[in-house]
């Protein structure tokens, strides 16, 4: 080293955190890990696709927590691998190439990976390459339940032996939790894991950080945005202006050793007080039909709304991080259907009532409400500058429990869409009218002239 070289401070690296946070150790808080989880919590089970989106032999590419994932179904079984060729990072799903049932090949240079474990099994034009068998890409455990495909999104070095069962990342179940969380006003909520469970719904991309989206789902003051939704007036539902905590324990944590980790809100009990009027503003809810429901949330951000939108149906939601400013919003209704007729009736009612009036009409408001909050938080300063109030006990409890039980904080995506916000490809796609999304766009075969 040159002795005369001046000693200089490092040029400041901005890490999406505020100056206050960077410089003031006192602003460190109990939910610091949550504040650091802009790209999501990794090493958890996330929904990837509906089963019907991945028919036999289809290949799809998606992105969760900044990790690119390719899925292929062979003989009914689904395999998931990192969608980034180890050779030079090409996405395998962009032009699916499979020469047999046990592998997927990178369409560019022919690196071929075993579907089961991701090991480099051959290279198309160099079968004797010394790399073969010595390296590979990360594989991800997959489970299918009720018509949904779940992937355990893990860091490359998270041991497969430590992968917990899917049930640890899904909401608590009934009747097994009836004694602990009684619900005299409605029947047992079904579970995706119940026999005969049918999941109907949609997933679409939202433009906000996943945490903003997630906190909206169980925020008891947010129901104001739904005040004039069509279904509320059409069915004459009593939907309060807001619901205030009214007890020393309005929320109970679920932290069983082998169970899901999260919180349950005691809504429509004496622990929460519905606000039905605001005289100062001349507002009063005078509808006729009680609409009791209860919200709970578990890691990695799965909401359960019991008794919604009607008896025997539960609404699940996920806010799956794609990048730090994009999430895949899953809205799913689950009902146990014992016969084909029951299933057909559920599907009919879903298609003609719930899809247009609930998942679209009602939940559309949530989508734009989250977007309205995004910019305040986008540079990281919102977490320090927000002024929380009494009803925010729900969000704070969630932040703390999530900080405690998450299995890892996702690192910012590398070499994936959205890691660089101004790449020329991203800009070209925008110019073509295509917003950044969840799926990998397939390369169209140009060899058709």
């Amino acid at each position: 080293m040159n002795e005369a070289a001046p000693i200089r401070r490092r040029s400041t690296v901005r890490m999406n955190t505020s100056d206050k946070r960077l410089n003031d150790s006192a602003s460190q808080s109990q939910y610091q890990p949550y504040k650091d989880a802009a790209w999501g919590f990794v090493n958890h089970w996330y929904p990837a696709l509906f089963s019907e989106e991945l028919p036999e032999d289809k290949v799809e590419g998606i992105q969760i927590c900044g990790i690119p994932i390719v899925l292929r179904r062979v003989d009914g079984k689904i395999y998931a691998l990192k969608d980034q060729c180890l050779h030079r990072g090409v996405r395998l799903s962009a032009k699916p190439t499979c020469f047999n049932k046990s592998s997927i090949t990178c369409w560019y240079h022919g690196f071929t990976f075993d579907l089961a474990d991701g090991l480099l099994s051959t290279i198309v034009a160099n079968p004797d390459d010394p790399l073969v068998g010595t390296t590979g890409i990360t594989s991800y455990p997959v489970e299918e339940a009720g018509g949904m495909i779940f992937v355990f999104v893990r860091e490359d070095d998270y041991p497969l032996d430590d992968v917990p069962p899917l049930s640890q990342d899904l909401p608590i179940r009934f009747p097994e939790n009836n004694a602990r969380f009684p619900h005299p006003l409605w029947p047992d909520a079904p579970s995706l894991l119940d026999e005969g469970a049918v999941a109907l719904g949609l997933h679409r991309t939202g433009q906000s950080n996943w945490r903003i989206a997630c906190e909206n789902g169980f925020d008891n003051a947010h129901i104001l945005i739904h005040k004039d939704n069509t279904i509320v007036h059409a069915l004459n539902w009593v939907l309060p202006l807001g619901i205030l905590p009214n007890h020393e324990e309005p929320i109970t944590l679920t932290e069983d050793e082998d169970g899901p980790k999260g919180l349950m809100q005691w809504l429509f009990t004496d622990r929460w007080k519905p606000v039905m009027e605001n005289p100062a503003l001349g507002l009063k809810i005078d509808a006729l039909n009680g609409r009791f429901y209860r919200t709970s949330v578990v890691l990695p951000g799965c909401l359960m709304v019991e008794n919604w939108p009607e008896e025997h149906i539960v609404q699940y939601e996920w806010y799956v991080p794609i990048t730090d400013d994009l999430y895949e919003y899953w809205e799913v209704m689950v009902r146990v259907c014992k016969t084909d007729q029951e299933k057909a009736a559920f599907k009919h009612r879903f298609d003609h009532v719930f899809m247009p009036l609930c998942l679209r009409g009602f939940n559309d408001c949530d989508l734009y409400a989250r977007e309205a909050m995004e910019e305040f938080y986008a540079d990281g300063t919102g977490w320090d500058n927000e002024q929380l109030a009494a009803t925010d006990v729900s969000a704070i409890t969630w932040r703390k429990v999530a900080s405690r039980w998450n299995r890892g904080i996702a690192k910012p995506g590398k070499g994936v869409p959205g890691a660089t916000k101004t790449s020329s490809i991203r800009l070209r796609r925008l110019a073509e009218g295509k917003a950044p999304g969840y799926f990998v766009e397939k390369i169209e075969d140009v060899n058709t002239y």
Binding site: R8, S11, R404
Partner: protein, 351 residues
């Protein structure tokens, strides 16, 4: 760390050549390379920390300089080296075979990246966290870097003196370029004098490291027992934060932290936060004398370990503090059934 001039030629097969690797830290290692085989493959087989990636003569990660002997290409291989580079002695180990005994110079150390280096830092903050403990946060200067494992220590050149002092790092490698230290104040000590009277934000401090064989064993899932006396807490903070951030199921951790008096206790809030973030972390606080206060018992931090029930004999233990405490803790843990090879310790002396 390998010891210099260690040889591994227990049973060289007939026809094999002896290839010697000279690492940048002076360590030399020799291996037998079978006739016609790749030198890289033989070196890796022998467990040498040889940098490599593609194994096919392309990426140039395994570049080495031939200083004696002769090599040829592995049959059927290609090399991305230019003829001029070959003439200068450069070789790609993955596609080279030995033609008789030869020697290579490598431009990296035998420890796999943990070479002791000197680095310049700036002081970010100096703050008193207890009656006799200061917290010092440093930040590596532009162009300076060190690597370390949680638990290791560095040496500081005390500014304005010709003295050096050693301190365990309380932060993790992921927090670099920031480095946090916990320093015990000693009346008349050169570091204490600097900290109390002259240290301020933006002061420049030279450090060297990393040092020490006291560091967190990665991937260990058995229960962890940590016993810390005073600023012996520093390496434990680094290890706890490392465990918190690493993938996979976390081990149970029992931390027993002792100080002489309540006035000397520090980091209670930081430990409470870690307990919130790591459900498997249990903390006992002890003071040698004075009255017991809420959450703090009177006694030494050693005796309390094992009082809650039998210890898992597979537990690993990390001990850091004054020599007396470390000796007592080692004896106590061995008596409770821990094997000596699972007990790691660092003792410090006041200076």
């Amino acid at each position: 760390m390998l010891t210099p001039t260690e040889h591994d030629l227990a049973a060289a097969p007939p026809g094999a050549a002896t290839v010697t690797f000279c690492f940048s830290d002076g360590v030399e290692r020799s291996v037998a390379v079978p006739s016609g085989g790749s030198i890289l493959a033989a070196g890796l087989e022998a467990g040498l920390p040889l940098t490599h990636q593609c194994r096919s003569g392309t990426c140039s990660s395994c570049l080495a300089t031939l200083t004696a002997g002769d090599t040829g290409p592995v049959p059927g291989s290609n090399s991305s080296l230019f003829a001029s580079e070959m003439a200068a002695g450069k070789r790609l180990l993955c596609v080279s075979q030995a033609r008789g005994d030869c020697r290579f110079a490598l431009d990296y150390a035998s420890s796999g990246g943990e070479q002791v280096t000197t680095a310049q830092t700036f002081v970010n903050t100096v703050e008193r966290v207890a009656a006799d403990v200061m917290r010092l946060e440093l930040e590596l200067a532009e162009g300076s870097w060190i690597d370390f494992r949680p638990g290791q220590f560095i040496q500081l050149s005390v500014p304005g003196t010709d003295q050096t002092r050693s301190y365990s790092i309380a932060s993790t490698p992921a927090q670099l370029p920031k480095i946090e230290l916990l320093v015990r104040l000693i009346p008349g000590g050169v570091m204490s004098d600097w900290l109390l009277n002259r240290a301020a934000a933006d002061a420049v401090v030279e450090i060297a490291g990393p040092y020490g064989a006291f560091f967190l064993r990665e991937g260990e899932k058995a229960p962890h027992i940590m016993i810390a006396g005073g600023t012996g807490l520093a390496p434990m903070m680094a290890m706890i934060d490392q465990i918190r951030a690493r993938p996979g199921r976390k081990p149970q951790i029992l931390l027993s932290f002792g100080c002489t008096s309540v006035a000397g206790l520090f980091h209670r809030e930081a430990l409470a936060l870690r307990q919130h973030w790591l459900p498997g972390l249990q903390v006992h606080l002890s003071v040698d004398h004075g009255a017991a206060v809420d959450g703090v018992r009177v006694g030494n931090p050693v005796e309390v370990v094992g009082q809650g029930g039998a210890l898992d004999p597979a537990s690993v233990a990390y001990l850091c503090g004054p020599p007396g405490m470390v000796e007592a803790a080692r004896g106590h843990l061995e008596a409770l059934g821990l094997s000596p090879e699972n007990i790691f310790s660092e003792r410090f002396v006041a200076s």
